[in-house]
């Protein structure tokens, strides 16, 4: 009886806490439009130092500086693979996030990158990337870099790197690998500033190819 009472009390408390949750001062919740999930059955019992825990639940709110907007919509995309196997590079910033056929661009095998030109240097609040979410996959050596140099030779900020085995021979990535899901991978650039955002990968657990459904870069407009 006592156990049940305390359990009910905890449940009420947690519900109220969720309802009354507020954004930290000067921040607001990033409102995202997410695609429908394309597959079920991702193992949820995986716990590993090198793989993001799969909870099977939604990610929860992510807070960004007030006034944050989507900077990457319809922006120019370039790539190490100038002739994608399937699709066009502009599909990466066209706002279509469906996991179905016809919504992704397929780049060649091995290490490949795509680069979004935001048009001007901006302080970034969030980067959301979908590689291919119609199948449970892990993309290899995912790196997200920000710079004002289109060649990424100077002033490069690494905001994400899960090249845990240093196969790219740059540096050992400390971020975890993750299984692709419909809500995409949310990366916190922690205010990193730059005009260009480059995302790279090196095949995936299903094939050697690289895919992008959509990339969204959020930041302050000025």
């Amino acid at each position: 009886m006592t156990k049940r009472f305390f359990a009910s009390l905890a449940l009420i408390f947690l519900t109220l806490a969720a309802l009354t949750a507020q954004a930290p001062a000067g921040k607001e919740e990033l409102k995202l439009k997410l695609p429908k999930p394309m597959f079920i059955g991702t193992p949820t019992n995986l716990k590993s130092a090198n793989l993001e825990a799969i909870t099977g639940k939604s990610r929860g709110p992510f807070y960004v500086p007030a006034g944050t907007v989507l900077l990457s919509a319809k922006k120019k995309v370039t790539s190490s693979d100038t002739q994608p196997v399937i699709g066009e590079l502009d599909m990466i910033t066209d706002g279509e996030k469906s996991g179905g056929d016809g919504y992704f661009v397929e780049l060649g095998p091995g290490p490949q990158w795509v680069q979004i030109d935001l048009g001007a240097s901006r302080a970034l609040s969030a980067i959301l990337a979908w590689h291919y979410h119609s199948q449970a996959r892990i993309y290899r050596d995912v790196m997200v870099l920000v710079s004002d140099d289109p060649a990424f030779k100077t002033g490069v900020t690494t905001v994400f790197n899960n090249d845990h085995d240093n196969s790219s021979k740059m540096t050992v990535g400390k971020d975890k690998e993750y299984i692709e899901v419909a809500e995409g991978k949310l990366i916190d650039p922690k205010g990193a500033k730059g005009r260009y955002v480059r995302l790279s990968s090196n095949g995936n657990t299903t094939n050697d190819l690289n895919h992008y459904v959509e990339v969204e870069v959020y930041g302050l407009p000025k």
Binding site: D101, H164, D165, T206
Partner: protein, 556 residues
């Protein structure tokens, strides 16, 4: 079309077919069935051991016919075998299947034969499965040889053809148990075609008192070949009885399968049109021409003595009967379409020859020929994509439960780690996974003698290895047991099937040191010990390390 022109065109088709069948032959990761066949073959290669298994693995021809390939390449152990040696065997039989088609010249004409050879050479399905170390390419070759043989006997081929037909039947039966479908289908189709042509039947010296002798010659040849192979060249005569036990196994699996269940139109749909992940595939050209050939076959009423009505009707009947039976069986895998699809190419040839011969306008004939050429180029392009570009991609409809490239990287990682370990290639590796998730690791780790296989965690011996491969099912238990002493990685085995790899932290640190810019990569510079080793031998006090395998886990 003159014989010389036809011969040249068939040679051209064969060249194109061989190019598609051999290009980058070793690149596709070994399918778990290929790996399983390779390990079974290695027992024959290394120790001369072969015993027919009524529950699995199909017939013995694949293994015995791989011996010359291994001997020619100087490979006498599993550790020394490579993909080219193994896959070279189905390549040879895939090409031989094309070379069987000219034997139909007298029955369907040279134009039809050349068309059939071209389409078969470029067909994505025929190309893809001729590059796979499974029984199918051999079986399709023997099945088509039998079909041709039955037709030749029916149209006056004599005793030599009866014997050849028996040998083909025997080889088909010694290759795959589904010969029980293919052989009667051909005989039934021949009987129907024979009956249907009525007065147009070709003269046949065997009809009458010689028929019984010809039948006995064929049966004796078939029985001899079957006995030879199934008894392991008479070293195990009792194994012949296993054939009868196998009949029950495959009957149960076909009618009441626990997996691989597909609708009746599976093969038809696969060949007609399929699309997945932005890729589109179709062998509709072959099917459309085969339909034209079938219609033409049953419209012919010329009653000529050349057998021109018999052959198209016979081929159409065979494709329809065998294809119908395979389609009616709930258990389906894509490569099972080969034995009846091989006959469809001859029928497609008949269809094209009919279209060309019926048209009097030279311009229209040229246009039809141009359409065939364009369609053939499209088929060849698809075959390249199927066999090379998307050879292991699940969007490729010919790919089925295929090992993904990530699994090859996993094996390379393990070999790389062993090069950094004091024991080298003799480093212990524990694989803790159900049998279906162990393959094709025994192939990729064949140069490492101390690889142990467990189906469940719990054995202390398994947990003492510096590298442990685990199914995700056992990953939580292993994470708990191994703690911080191990670093984990994940690798794909098949689409949507991952394996976890646990690496001793000290070994991982040594590995990372080699991954720094400018550091030497031991995996690239130090060859693993590939000397002949005892396969999957035991480490101290351990049980013999063998990968698990049960009949239900293999895809026949």
């Amino acid at each position: 079309m003159t014989r010389a022109v036809a011969g040249a065109l068939v040679a051209l088709a064969l060249t194109a077919g061989l190019a598609l069948r051999t290009a980058r032959l070793t690149e596709r990761p070994m399918h778990h069935d290929e790996a399983n066949q390779a390990v079974k073959f290695a027992a024959l290669l290394e120790r001369g051991e072969y015993r027919y298994d009524a529950r699995d693995h199909h017939g013995p021809t694949l293994y015995y016919l791989t011996l010359p390939s291994a001997w020619l390449r100087g490979q006498h152990t599993l550790a020394l075998l490579d993909e080219a040696t193994l896959r070279g065997v189905p390549v040879v039989f895939g090409a031989a299947t094309i070379l069987l088609l000219p034997l139909l010249s007298a029955g369907i004409g040279r134009t039809a034969v050349v068309t059939a050879a071209l389409l078969m050479a470029l067909s994505p399905a025929m190309v893809f499965y001729s590059r796979m170390y499974i029984q199918e390419a051999l079986f399709a070759c023997f099945a088509l040889a039998f079909v041709i043989g039955v037709g030749r006997v029916a149209t006056g081929g004599g005793f030599a053809w009866a014997a050849m037909t028996g040998v083909a039947a025997g080889l088909a039966m010694a290759t795959k148990e589904t010969a029980a479908i293919v052989v009667p289908s051909a005989v039934a189709a021949a009987a129907i075609a024979w009956w249907s042509v009525g007065a147009g039947r070709p003269p046949n010296a065997l009809i009458g008192r010689h028929l019984r002798r010809a039948t006995l010659v064929g049966l004796a040849a078939a029985a001899g070949v079957v006995a030879l192979f199934y008894s392991s060249f008479f070293s195990a005569p009792a194994a012949l009885l296993e054939l009868f036990r196998a009949a029950g196994t495959y009957l149960d699996r076909g009618i009441d399968p626990s997996s691989h269940i597909q609708p009746w139109h599976y093969y038809l749909q696969l060949l007609t049109y399929s699309a997945s992940g932005g890729l589109r595939w179709s062998e509709g050209l072959v099917l459309a021409l085969a339909v034209v050939g079938t219609i033409a076959a049953w419209q012919r009423s010329d009653g000529s003595s050349s057998g021109s009505s018999f052959w198209p009707r016979y081929l159409a009947g065979d494709v329809v009967i065998a294809g119908g039976i395979f389609s009616a069986i709930p258990y389906k895998t894509p490569w099972n379409l080969l034995p009846f699809y091989a006959g469809a190419f001859a029928l497609a040839g008949v269809g094209f020859a009919t279209l060309v011969s019926k048209e009097r306008s030279r311009l229209v004939r040229v246009l039809v020929a141009g359409a065939l050429a364009a369609g053939s180029v499209h088929l060849g392009w698809q075959a390249w994509r199927a066999a090379i570009t998307y050879a292991a991609d699940p969007r490729n409809p010919y790919v089925y439960a295929q090992t993904v490239p990530d699994a090859v990287r996993m094996a390379a990682r393990i070999r790389h780690l062993s090069a950094l370990h004091p024991d080298g290639a003799r480093m212990q590796v524990s694989v803790i996974a159900p049998p279906s998730e162990q393959w094709p690791l025994p192939w990729y780790l064949r140069g490492m003698p101390n690889v142990g296989y467990w189906t469940a965690p719990g054995d202390v011996l398994a947990l003492q290895a510096p590298v442990i491969v685990s199914s995700l099912e056992h990953a939580p238990a292993l994470e708990q047991a191994l703690g911080d002493r191990y670093v984990s990685e994940y690798f794909g085995l098949r689409p949507e099937l991952l394996l976890a790899v646990y690496i001793d932290r000290g070994l991982w640190d040594r590995f990372l040191a080699t991954a720094r810019p400018g550091s030497e990569d031991p995996g690239a510079t130090r060859e693993l010990d590939a000397r002949p080793t005892r396969r999957l031998s035991a480490v101290r006090g351990a049980p013999v390390f063998r990968p698990g395998r049960t009949a239900a886990e293999r895809v026949p």
